[in-house]
């Protein structure tokens, strides 16, 4: 493991600025998720750290050692690619042994290390299979073992889960986190999936148009997004466009100060689980337009009778509390002003 310092890194492709003066410090043993929509520069940043796409400006340091212009093969890294990129001519065992072989280690040490890794990823029974005989999840676990084989100081994961189907993705996501914590390697994970980023990372870096929008721990990012973009990207929120009157935004019977907003309208975010059911007489009346069962919770699409007119809100409530509630029923809802996030209009993200 090692620390990574990214200092003012820029990268241009033609006249497009893929990275625009990005700076980031990664602690040793930390797992960072680079989160953003496609084209935000997250993969370019990862490839710059790998040395596959050298930056035009800025420096990259591993443990205070400048590696900006070090060839990829001399960097203490392991990398996992979206499309696996296993060597089709080699078996699982040979793939994992490859980084050790090119480093000239002796055959017995390589054999021991490969056995260790096969056990770690649970593929000992498939050691002599070729990649085309494996499922997607098995291929990506092999790729992970190959990346970990030389005990790299930095593990780079470029959308490692996005080619996999949902069940395998969740399982492998947790496995990657477990392995990363067990060996305490410094890791960077590129993803466009916010739930993946929140689940595995110590800190999440939200990127947008070649810049870093926010760096925060998952729970902080979830509760206190600092920009409309981060707020829109994280979580399935209610995103409302509301008028600002006397520096305040009013909704569902409460009013929230909008200090950062000097426009006539504001972008207001409210998480579905923060819309609460109230007793009749309290809160605002709302009509159930649709309900969608999602397991532990059920999502309700509500039409709220608010002061400013009808308001569409999504609400998530525990499924066991709402069994009798049907489409067309009337409920009463209220919100806590502390759960409302207000940002200037026109910074809305399109995740």
């Amino acid at each position: 493991m090692s620390t990574i310092a990214i200092q003012n890194v820029s990268k241009r492709f033609g006249d497009k600025l893929a990275l625009d003066g990005v700076s980031l410090d990664v602690k040793s043993g930390e797992m960072i998720a680079l989160l953003g929509s496609s084209g935000c520069g997250k993969t370019t940043l990862l490839r710059a750290i790998a040395g596959l796409t050298p930056p035009n400006d800025g420096r990259i340091l591993f443990d205070d050692r400048d590696v900006t212009h070090l060839p990829t093969r001399r960097r203490p890294i392991g990398m996992v690619f979206q499309g696996y990129s296993l060597f089709p001519n080699m078996t699982v065992r040979q793939n994992i042994a490859f980084p050790l072989k090119v480093r000239g280690q002796d055959a017995r040490a390589i054999g021991r290390r490969v056995d260790e890794l096969l056990a770690l990823i649970g593929l000992a029974a498939h050691a002599d299979h070729h990649p085309n005989q494996l499922s997607g999840g098995q291929q990506q676990r092999t790729a992970l073992a190959r990346a970990l084989a030389p005990d790299p100081a930095v593990l780079l994961l470029d959308e490692p889960l996005s080619a996999l189907d949902a069940v395998v993705r969740l399982h492998l996501r947790d496995e990657i986190r477990r392995i990363q914590q067990a060996i305490r390697t410094t890791a960077l994970l590129v993803t466009h999936d916010q739930s993946e980023a929140l689940a595995v990372a110590d800190r999440v870096v939200v990127m947008r148009a070649g810049r870093i929008e926010q760096v925060a721990a998952p729970n902080v990012l979830y509760d206190k997004p600092t920009s409309g973009f981060s707020a829109g990207f994280i979580g399935q929120r209610n995103a409302l466009d509301l008028p600002v009157l006397d520096g305040r935004v009013r909704l569902c019977g409460t009013s929230v100060p909008a200090p950062a907003v000097d426009t006539a309208r504001a972008l207001v975010f409210l998480r579905p689980e923060d819309v609460h059911r109230m007793d009749a007489g309290a809160g605002r009346r709302a009509r159930v337009e649709a309900r969608i069962f999602e397991g532990r919770t059920t999502r309700f699409y509500l039409k709220v009778e608010d002061e400013e007119g009808a308001l569409d809100l999504k609400a998530d409530w525990p499924s066991r509390d709402v069994e009798g509630l049907a489409t067309g029923d009337t409920v009463h809802v209220g919100i806590d002003p502390r759960d409302v996030h207000v940002f200037p209009a026109a910074t809305r993200a399109t995740p």
């Binding site: 060839p71 990829t72 089709p88 490859f98 980084p99 085309n132």
Partner: protein
């Protein structure tokens, strides 16, 4: 070259036909099926009958009024291989074709790899070069080369040292398309990046990762180049002439002469057919193994 490709296509079609008994096959086919079967049979006959005729003639004692020869002998084969001119011609053609194939692979494979991994911008240039042998008649290329070489290196005219680069240039398209397609299919860019992140240098990347994965493409490119050179006559005739007689030129010369031993000519033609057939089978086999691999992956 034309017969090499048509044979390759015929051989590609053949495995697609059901191998079950004809009756069951016919029952399962719509009405057009019979016509298709007849067409395939006609195409096979069209290719096989002349080859069989040549082979029979090469082992016939005399072949007069009957449908089959009057008697059989291996004497023509013995005569042919005993003849110094026959052996020289065959050896020359084989040597020239092998040299063309090997040098073309050594030239094109690195260029193709470089274009994919480092410099995609040279791709239009390579594609243009690969189209020239199709767009310009070989005779025009030959006279062009004759004119240019006459001004720069007149000493090379009539020697294989002018013929070899000319054959390499004409075979280039086949080698390029074959190698480029196999590199695209193998995903050499991704494999190269993966190898680099594993700590591999250029040598390990190329010989342990890239070459094993584009092997069939290299081999089928080499086979096609061999076939182009072995069967080519226009360049040989114009650039080298009788000073460097190859198999096709020998065949032509014997056909033009009045006192030639046509049975020996049939031996040479049969040898040439056999080589071409083996090469076609090789290309089909290699391409099919690649297709199978891709199917297994899907």
């Amino acid at each position: 070259m034309a017969d090499l490709t048509s044979q390759a296509f015929a051989a590609v079609e053949a495995p697609l036909a059901p191998s079950r008994r004809l009756g069951r096959w016919r029952a399962a086919m719509p009405r057009g099926g019979l016509f298709a079967a007849l067409l395939l049979a006609a195409a096979v006959l069209y290719i096989l009958v002349p080859m069989l005729a040549v082979l029979l003639y090469s082992v016939a004692t005399r072949w007069t009024a009957n449908i089959l020869p009057d008697g059989y002998t291996l004497a023509h084969w013995a005569d042919g291989f005993a003849d110094a001119r026959f052996r020289t011609v065959l050896g020359r053609s084989l040597g020239l074709a092998v040299a063309t194939a090997v040098l073309d692979i050594l030239l094109v494979a690195p260029a193709c790899y470089w274009q994919r991994v480092r410099n995609p911008r040279i791709r239009p240039i390579l594609e243009l070069l690969a189209a020239i042998p199709f767009a310009v008649p070989i005779a025009v290329i030959a006279f062009g080369l004759l004119q240019v070489s006459g001004q720069i290196v007149p000493a090379l005219q009539g020697t294989p040292w002018l013929l070899l680069p000319a054959h390499m240039a004409v075979a280039f398209s086949f080698v390029y398309w074959s190698i480029d397609a196999s590199m695209a299919a193998a995903g050499v860019v991704g494999l190269t990046e993966a190898a680099r992140t594993c700590g591999a240098g250029l040598g390990a990347t190329i010989f342990r990762v890239i070459v094993p994965n584009v092997g069939p493409g290299l081999a089928s490119g080499a086979i096609l180049a061999f076939g182009v050179s072995f069967n080519e006559i226009a360049l040989v005739q114009i650039l080298a002439g009788d000073r460097f007689e190859t198999v096709p030129l020998y065949t032509l010369n014997l056909l033009k002469s009045t006192d030639a031993d046509f049975n020996v000519l049939a031996v040479m033609t049969a040898v040439s057919f056999a080589i071409t057939l083996l090469l076609s089978a090789g290309v089909v086999f290699l391409n099919r193994s690649v297709v199978d691999k891709r199917r297994a992956k899907a």
